[in-house]
């Protein structure tokens, strides 16, 4: 018997909605946080390399049972599905399974490798063609969720996964795979390539996020972290530069005064024009409103900014596309500029150990104020009081009934309750482990945001983040690259052409670029396209969407605040948490800390020797 099942909970939070959980817990609500997974934060999670490999294997659907015997008088049952929002998973390993073998054997092995890759890739193509088919299947299966005999995820993912399974299994001792270095290191024989075995061995050094985002330094997430004092649970690193891919080259985008001054790509006149434009567009002006509704590119052209500057301003600073309306482009540019210079020379921060740290911080905050967490523990259904149309209780995966006053869950658990079914939109994601940086030095200190305009007509604009080992997300000597765009086709089809041109893979012939050691493609449902309203659900059941495709966290934070105010309309959203020493414990006195310490004259000093690249959000 579980200790929590007897109590009545004010709020049961299901899965990753950690911000709301923390906010509720902070203002005194009793929060129970259940997650069917063995890790926090669902699609917001980050994994070690080995953790990610098991995650890849786990992308399957769990079974459903009938729980009607737990119903009480006047109650109704809502079954909860737990359909995955991940599709088209594909894995490629471009490095040898074991440590580098003797040069002599490389040739013979190489042919084997190519043979290996052949069938794998053809099957990938088959997999991605199925995307449209999948979407229709999704709806079909949702309508019959009571009989989830064959969830479409298992239908779809398994074949592709199996084709790649040999690779993940390859490192296991019993697998009889030939040793196969993917790319014989002809260009740099001296440089020892990192093997798959090494990646696995150092797997704990990786913190690979499922989402690809950055924190705008004046964005709502940063403001919330500061306001709530949750920032004390994490450390952050400045994104050190903005890069862009243009005319087949990776270039640095000058976006601060110092960048513009030092830029070698811009003439002095361009420098002046850029600075003038950036200063002038901070304020809203009449001549700007004349362009409302017309493309931002047209506005930029009319400002007599040359092609260099247009590219930088459109794709890298506003991060919009050619047909984005001027008012949107300007708002985006202003947001970029507003965030610039608060912590560093770019508008972005990245949490050390990955974005997965952020939900964990809020979980911690929730727990500090009494929230209870249960991992590997799912909900099966909601119990509905038919008279009041309110959810009275939930039934967990162990068949226990838990009373509650509010329930918060992720959209795809109740997808079938939606009144108007809108087709889901997807994000195309790729995660690469590479051996060097795309631009300049391999100092392992740079964190780069790379904006990539559509490489061909109709292709999506891609946002890429290159993390060095200094962010604690990858092992030393490697770079972790996240690619993200709105899906046009499958992740592989959307992103692999770009990856083969920008990086060195067995398909590309240019050896001067960073080599891809390992690569993962998948599609994730776009949270911004999920509708959290319009579900046929009790009034005290709240729905929130998964991660969206934007670079910042505005969508998630706005949604969390909205839900919080629906649950507790009178309460403050995440007020500052008090310092531990200011908390009064039972009896009104602070816990005795033994004999009184000899106060020293040493004043508290911030360490001058600490890493100055690390930003503490203590302000």
């Amino acid at each position: 018997m579980c200790f929590y099942s007897k109590r009545e909970y004010l709020i049961v939070i299901f899965d990753h909605i950690s911000v709301v959980a923390a906010a509720c817990s902070r203002v005194g609500q009793r929060v129970l946080h259940l997650d069917r997974r063995s890790y926090y934060a669902a699609n917001w999670a980050s994994f070690t390399f080995n953790g990610l490999l098991s995650w890849i294997q786990q992308q399957q659907v769990s079974e459903t049972q009938d729980w009607c015997d737990l119903l009480e008088e006047g109650e109704e049952l809502i079954q909860l599905s737990s359909q995955s929002s991940i599709r088209n998973l594909q894995v490629f390993t471009y490095t040898s399974k074991e440590d580098e073998v003797e040069e002599a054997s490389a040739d013979s092995v190489n042919t084997t490798e190519e043979e290996q890759h052949g069938p794998g890739e053809t099957r990938c193509a088959v997999g991605s063609e199925r995307l449209s088919q999948e979407v229709s299947r999704t709806h079909h299966s949702l309508q019959h969720m009571e009989i989830p005999a064959e969830g479409f995820c298992s239908l779809n993912i398994s074949p592709i996964f199996q084709s790649q399974a040999t690779i993940t299994e390859g490192a296991e001792p019993e697998a009889e795979q030939p040793q196969s270095p993917a790319i014989p290191s002809q260009s740099e024989p001296s440089r020892k390539k990192i093997s798959f075995a090494q990646l696995e061995k150092e797997g704990r050094r990786f913190n690979i996020d499922l989402v690809s985002k950055l924190m705008y330094s004046r964005g709502s997430l940063v403001e919330l972290l500061i306001k709530s004092n949750v920032s004390r649970y994490a450390e952050f690193k400045k994104v050190s530069r903005i890069l862009t891919y243009r005319n087949g080259e990776v270039e640095q985008v000058p976006c601060t005064r110092a960048d513009v001054f030092a830029s070698r790509q811009l003439s002095v006149v361009e420098k002046r024009k850029l600075m003038r434009f950036l200063t002038s567009c901070i304020e809203e002006k009449d001549d700007q409103s004349a362009y409302n509704g017309r493309p931002y590119l047209e506005f930029l052209r009319d400002q007599k900014l040359g092609e260099n500057l247009q590219h930088f301003l459109l794709y890298s600073i506003a991060m919009v596309t050619e047909d984005t309306p001027t008012e949107v482009g300007l708002a985006s540019t202003r947001n970029f500029l507003r965030c610039l210079g608060r912590y560093g020379n770019t508008p972005f921060l990245f949490p050390l150990y990955g974005l997965g740290e952020i939900p964990q911080c809020f979980c911690r905050m929730c727990a500090v104020f009494g929230g209870i967490y249960c991992l590997r523990h799912s909900l099966r259904c909601l119990l509905l009081d038919t008279a009041t149309n309110r959810c009275k209780a939930v039934i967990d995966s162990r068949g226990q009934r838990i009373s509650c006053s509010h329930v918060l869950l992720e959209e795809n658990y109740v997808h079938e309750r939606k009144n108007v079914a809108t087709p889901p939109r997807f994000l195309s994601r790729a995660v690469l482990i590479t051996d060097s940086s795309l631009h300049g030095s391999d100092s392992e200190q740079e964190v780069s945001m790379v904006t990539i305009p559509p490489i061909t007509e109709g292709a999506p604009a891609v946002k890429m983040v290159e993390l060095s080992s200094s962010t604690m997300t990858c092992m030393s000597g490697t770079y972790l690259v996240h690619l993200n765009c709105s899906s046009v086709s499958s992740a592989y089809q959307d992103l692999s052409p770009l990856i083969t041109t920008m990086f060195s893979t067995p398909e590309s012939h240019d050896q001067g670029r960073p080599s891809v050691l390992w690569c993962l493609y998948f599609n994730m449902e776009d949270g911004s396209a999920m509708e959290v309203e319009g579900h046929d659900l009790p009034s005290n059941v709240y729905v929130c969407s998964g991660p969206d495709g934007e670079l910042g966290h505005e969508h998630a934070i706005t949604q969390a605040e909205l839900i919080f105010h629906k649950i507790l309309p009178e309460e403050d959203f995440c007020p500052p948490a008090p310092n531990p020493e200011d908390i009064l414990y039972d009896g009104g006195s602070a816990p005795s800390s033994g004999p009184e310490e000899e106060p020293s004259l040493q004043l508290e000093v911030e360490g001058l020797d600490s890493d100055w690249n690390t930003v503490f959000l203590f302000f």
């Binding site: 005194g28 005064r257 001054f261 002095v268 106060p599």
Partner: protein, 573 residues
């Protein structure tokens, strides 16, 4: 509400903080008194070292304690082995780092650090340099750190090119930094003027702080990047002025004038000097003469013009020819001039044109460089038509290239400057006056006349009067002059002064002008008889026009004036 965390109220927190503070204060005072007692008793032990360390780490601005600490350390030096001393001082440096974290701008800590560094048996200058770098990366304008760094660089003998790269780095991270630019200006001459590249004479000249042209072009590029990126940042503009600047003028005698009738010699120097007896030697017809040199006005101890009266009868005979030489012994400069038979005066003068005196302190070896600089600044001015730094630099470049042909554009730019920077409009008026006077001097020299005429040019001030020693007629009418300053007494040959339609209320400069005959001051602001007092020192004054001045309204003005200036025959009131 149920289940909420109870938090201490602000009053509770305040109370706790107050108690904490009181406790700290008690300890602090006890430690301080302990230190003072020990010092009085002449105790130099480890305990004292620790006590001062405790106090200084919370208050690094306690100079007495630093002194006591130095006394202790100096004592320890005498009783300990070198290796131990090294260790003590190394610990001292570590302690100082913690003090600098408390207050990175503490005079005491920085001073003590340089004291310790200098006494360290085996100093690690590389470490000190990196400490400075770190401090400057936190605050690139911390002048304490700049000072300390200069000392470190000197002790460590850091090569100039390495230091130049250091400024590159600082300027790259933030170019609004005078310290870095200025440091650059001290490094460049050291780096690029190797004696072999220059003709020997130039190399010897200590004032020549020229930078080789190749480097100069790089510097222009760098500084242009800065002012194109942010034209409102003045640090780059100041550095640019320095780059375009010229070496200082050589000190010499630029003009010698001798007047037979007054038996007076006037010497003009290239800059104001204080002539002490003996440093200026007058030789007349081969014979040294002991004379008394006077500056042109008692107000000046330093003056570019000095005069002396020869003993009566020395050169008064018109049929005699005289050779006159003045030696400036200090600077090895001399001027000769011959007073020919039948001539009333004679002079020898270097021309302002030849010396390019008025190229507004800008000069570069090659006009082509200036020309291309002018083009870039003009380009910037098209983008930023109202930027004052850009306009001002444009004016200076134009003057350096060709002061006369750019006159019209210069005046237009001055007009814009006064509008966009109205707080400094008086400064611009004075500067514009200066440039107009320079142009007039050039025109006068080209015309080879002794008439100086700048009427209706909005002059607000007079300058370069040392260049007008030989002028006989001056026309300053229809300007905005407020006075004739003491420098006006440099116009040794002036006969006619036209200064009508100004706002002159002060005639201080009309002082002992031996040839002055006519003074036209119609429509000015002369209010009292006392204002006219200086005119009594001009022996030849015959004509005076005071129409339209307040002084004319005084009762009995005519008789009073006749009393004051009996020599004036033609008085207009």
């Amino acid at each position: 509400m149920h289940g909420r965390v109870k938090v201490k109220s602000t009053a509770q927190q305040e109370e706790e903080k107050r108690k904490e503070r009181e406790k700290k204060l008690k300890i602090y005072i006890a430690a301080r008194d302990g230190c003072f007692t020990k010092r009085k008793e002449g105790v130099f032990d480890d305990e004292a070292l620790q006590l001062t360390q405790q106090l200084l780490s919370s208050n690094p601005d306690f100079a007495t304690l630093w002194n006591y600490r130095r006394e202790i350390l100096m004592h320890l030096e005498t009783v300990k082995e070198v290796d131990e001393v090294q260790k003590i001082y190394e610990a001292e440096l570590l302690f100082l780092e913690s003090c600098l974290k408390v207050n990175p701008k503490s005079y005491g800590s920085w001073h003590h650090r340089s004291w310790v560094s200098a006494r360290l048996p085996r100093p690690d200058w590389a470490r000190e340099l990196s400490l400075c770098d770190r401090c400057l990366s936190l605050d690139d304008r911390n002048f304490h750190c700049w000072d300390y760094r200069r000392m470190v660089v000197k002790m460590f003998n850091v090569p100039v090119d390495q230091e130049l790269k250091f400024t590159d780095r600082l300027i790259g991270s933030n170019f609004s930094n005078y310290s870095s630019w200025h440091y650059r200006s001290t490094l460049l001459p050291l780096l690029h003027t190797t004696a072999s590249e220059l003709p020997p004479m130039q190399a010897e000249s200590p004032k020549s702080n020229r930078v080789c042209e190749e480097q100069l072009l790089k510097e222009y590029e760098l500084v242009q990047n800065a002012f194109f990126t942010d034209p409102n940042d003045q640090s780059a503009w100041f550095y640019y002025r320095w780059l375009l600047g010229r070496a200082e003028l050589e000190e010499m005698i630029s003009c010698l004038h001798v007047s037979r009738e007054e038996e007076q010699v006037a010497v003009v120097f290239s800059r104001p000097v204080n002539v002490q007896s003996g440093c200026l030697l007058l030789v007349l017809d081969g014979q040294p003469h002991a004379v008394e040199w006077k500056s042109i006005h008692p107000r000046f101890k330093h003056s570019p013009v000095w005069i002396c009266n020869l003993p009566p009868g020395t050169i008064s005979e018109i049929s005699n020819e005289h050779n006159l030489t003045v030696h400036w012994t200090e600077k090895h400069s001399r001027k000769d001039c011959t007073l020919f038979t039948g001539h009333a005066e004679s002079w020898c003068q270097d021309s302002a044109t030849d010396q390019e005196l008025f190229r507004s302190e800008l000069s570069v070896e090659k006009n082509s460089v200036l020309q291309s600089e002018l083009q870039s600044v003009q380009q910037l001015q098209e983008l930023e038509p109202l930027n004052k730094w850009c306009l001002l630099t444009l004016i200076l470049l134009m003057r350096a290239l060709d002061p006369l042909s750019y006159e019209k554009e210069m005046l237009a730019h001055f007009q814009t400057l006064k509008e966009v920077d109205s707080m400094r409009s008086a400064y611009y008026s004075d500067l514009c006056s200066k440039f107009m006077i320079e142009n007039t001097i050039l025109k006068m020299e080209y015309a080879e006349v002794r008439v100086f005429s700048v009427s209706d040019k909005n002059l607000s001030t007079l300058c370069h009067l040392d260049q007008l020693v030989l002028v006989t007629h001056i026309n300053l009418s229809c300007n905005q002059l407020l006075c004739l300053p003491p420098q006006f007494a440099m116009l040794r040959c002036l006969e006619v002064l036209e200064a009508d339609n100004n706002s002159i209320g002060n005639l201080e400069g009309l002082y002992h002008l031996p040839k002055l005959e006519a003074v036209i001051l119609k429509d000015n602001k002369i209010a009292t008889l006392a204002d006219l007092e200086p005119l009594t020192s001009c022996p030849r004054l015959k004509r005076l026009d005071l129409r339209g001045n307040p002084v004319t309204q005084l009762a009995n003005v005519e008789s009073e004036l006749a009393k004051l200036l009996p020599s004036v025959l033609d008085l207009l009131l």
